[in-house]
């Protein structure tokens, strides 16, 4: 049994004792358990995001021959905490002619929608916050809710830059959703399941990771998920040199922070899915099998590597124009993804592997 699973069990045992002490019925009500798990995962993810923001700043500093944050805490690790405190204690500036209710709800939708995707990520063998047998479908469905938040933000800010940003984002996310799904289809065809946990287990049994046979799918997925999380070179919804801040031009303080967190969480989800589906999730690399570390460790290492790659994209490439972005999505990524599905179908047919 792995370390993180033990941790969850330990929490449950402690809770059971607390309930006995209070004279409540045993076992613990499912609802309370869910709340506590949610709170813990929220805290862990928030800390991870803080680390990612720090990492992004250090990576960009390294790429631009700078030093990066190094004042707050060791190696500047607490810089993000300082920024978060600054953002939360800031005065909440709102434009006078905003559409009040959508303006308030937009960052919440964007944040919650991305955050909900975390639920089905397989962290270790048998460890998921809530394992669903339609995990892949769930993640794709839930993360595309983000576009509603962004569109609402763009509309309700009553600012032309925000509006352009919002519409660009809608067009972009809807177009890139398609190659994103299509790139995952071949893996689902081979494994015959939508359950992320089972996809990882299939890779463990098969002895290879899908990044080998499905390299095209992996590249398409990586590109599309970068676009899904509005990251450079696909950051046209917030292109600061054209649209000032895009859809979040008029947002400040904690509301801006929610968009900001949402972006990073969607990177985490994108790379987690990439790792689970294509890079073997929590499976240790074959040559490192002897190391007595839990699968969770390998999972995090792989996720960080993919995130590093996405960060390196951002600090290397110029931004695409909106029509070029659409062309790239519809004329290049989607045909490639469909071709990949076709080839995978032939592969299954001839070698009768998988289903």
């Amino acid at each position: 049994m792995s370390g993180s699973l033990k941790l969850l069990k330990l929490i449950n045992v402690i809770l059971e004792h607390v309930y006995k002490f209070l004279g409540l019925t045993n076992p613990i009500p499912e609802v309370i358990n869910a709340f506590i798990t949610a709170a813990i995962s929220f805290a862990v993810i928030s800390v991870f995001v803080m680390f990612l923001v720090w990492m992004e700043r250090k990576v960009s500093a390294h790429m631009q021959s700078r030093i990066g944050p190094n004042r707050v805490g060791p190696f500047g690790l607490l810089q993000t905490l300082a920024d978060a405190i600054k953002l939360t204690t800031k005065e909440n500036m709102e434009p006078q002619k905003r559409d009040k209710i959508p303006y308030f709800i937009a960052p919440i939708i964007a944040f919650v929608a991305t955050f909900m995707g975390v639920v089905v990520i397989p962290l270790d063998k048998g460890v998921t916050i809530q394992n669903l047998n339609i995990g892949v479908l769930y993640i794709i469905a839930i993360t595309s809710f983000t576009v509603i938040g962004i569109l609402t933000a763009g509309w309700s800010s009553n600012n032309k830059f925000s509006l352009i940003g919002g519409f660009r984002s809608a067009a972009q996310i809807i177009s890139y959703e398609i190659p994103l799904v299509l790139s995952l289809v071949p893996v689902i065809m081979i494994t015959g399941t939508l359950d992320l946990q089972k996809i990882v287990e299939y890779q463990a049994h098969a002895g290879y990771w899908f990044v080998g046979p499905q390299i095209i799918g992996f590249l398409v997925f990586l590109t599309a998920s970068t676009a899904e999380s509005n990251r450079a070179p696909f950051d046209i919804p917030e292109a600061e040199s054209e649209l000032t801040g895009g859809f979040h031009t008029e947002y400040s303080g904690i509301k801006f922070a929610m968009f900001f967190l949402g972006e990073y969480i969607s990177i985490i989800i994108g790379s987690s899915v990439a790792v689970s589906v294509f890079l073997g999730g929590w499976i240790a690399p074959a040559f490192m099998n002897f190391l007595p570390v839990p699968g969770f460790f390998w999972f995090v290492i792989k996720v960080l590597l993919v995130i590093y790659l996405i960060m390196a994209f951002r600090w290397t490439f110029p931004r695409l124009r909106v029509d070029q972005l659409m062309d790239f999505g519809w004329k290049i990524l989607i045909p490639i993804a469909i071709l990949n599905i076709f080839l995978t179908g032939l592969w299954i047919l001839w070698f009768s592997k998988g289903v």
């Binding site: 046209i236 040199s241 054209e242 649209l243 110029p318 931004r319 695409l320 909106v322």
Partner: protein
Amino acid sequence: MTDLLLSQIDINSNSLTETDEYIVNLGPQHPATHGVLRLVVKLDGEVVKETMPVLGYLHRSIEKICENRTYPQCITYTDRVDYASAMSANLAYAMAAEKLLNIEIPPRAQWLRMIFVELQRIASHLLWLGAFAGDLGAFTPFLYGLRERERVLDLFEMTCGQRLTYNYIRIGGVMIDVLPEFVEKCRLFLDYFFKKVDEYEELLTYNPIFLERTKGVGFITPEEAINWGLAGPSLRGSGVSCDIRKQQPYLFYDQIDFKEEISYGGDCWSRYKVRMNEMRQCVSIIRQCLDHMGPGAVEAKLPPVLKGPNGQEAYSRIESSRGEMGVYLVGNGTPKPWKCKFRCASFNNLSVIDKLTRGWKVADIMAVLGSLDIIIPEVDR
């Protein structure tokens, strides 16, 4: 349901597909406009219908101020005409004043002027490179550009103590001779910098996204470019030979072996390529200047008070970092010029923005604006 919706819409008004134009102000405070330029842009969705630059946010009436200052005092104001390329503005003014006052300049001063103006061109192009790449959404080249620009500014600081507005090239020569170790440090920088240009090109020139954003964007034919009065690298990007250093050599440019960089594309990419190649030419020019430069005085003997001859006029033109820069001076027998006029390349280059962006996307405004290399104080003065 659809029938119901359609029945409510008047078919004749075509309101299902009709779009409204709307106006967006890019600037005067906007992260991408260089300085305080305001562009009033008429948009139809993402498509640009009209771009109108609104000038005057940085107008400081430098020309009028110069008419109330003595000839040597004006030099400090010329620094502010083009703060990214202050040496060129210094030189243009000093040359006009020398023409008006009939002053001979010692050769060492001429060589020093050439070295510093070319170093300034490198610094200015580096700043442009960073801003241009930043406009296209790549932030990293900006820091690369500033990293090398810092080295140039160190050379300037070592010589005249200033890093932005130098007041170094004076009437009759230069302010002060360079330090003995300057030549060696300058050579070290040139060797270091020559390799760095390749690094920038590796990062940008054939990057597919960069090519997509710049190839064919902001295209202008040579004839149109001449008619619009484009100047400098922006005109050479259309394949027109217009380098004043070649056509009307001033200083000792006729004794130097260098190539006028021309690119024939007429688009943003060509203008980019011209400037990148020009940086390499600058290195070669400075190297030759350092070889040619002999010892001697750096300042001519001047009368205590400089008086412009009554009714006489003088015009000087140089190839500044942004193109042709001219200074027109009229004397009236007093220590102050009767009229002082700057002809700056940025003003003409900016005027073409409407033609280049009509029918393109919003993002292309930034690419075109970046590729024209506009400095707002030069436009507004």
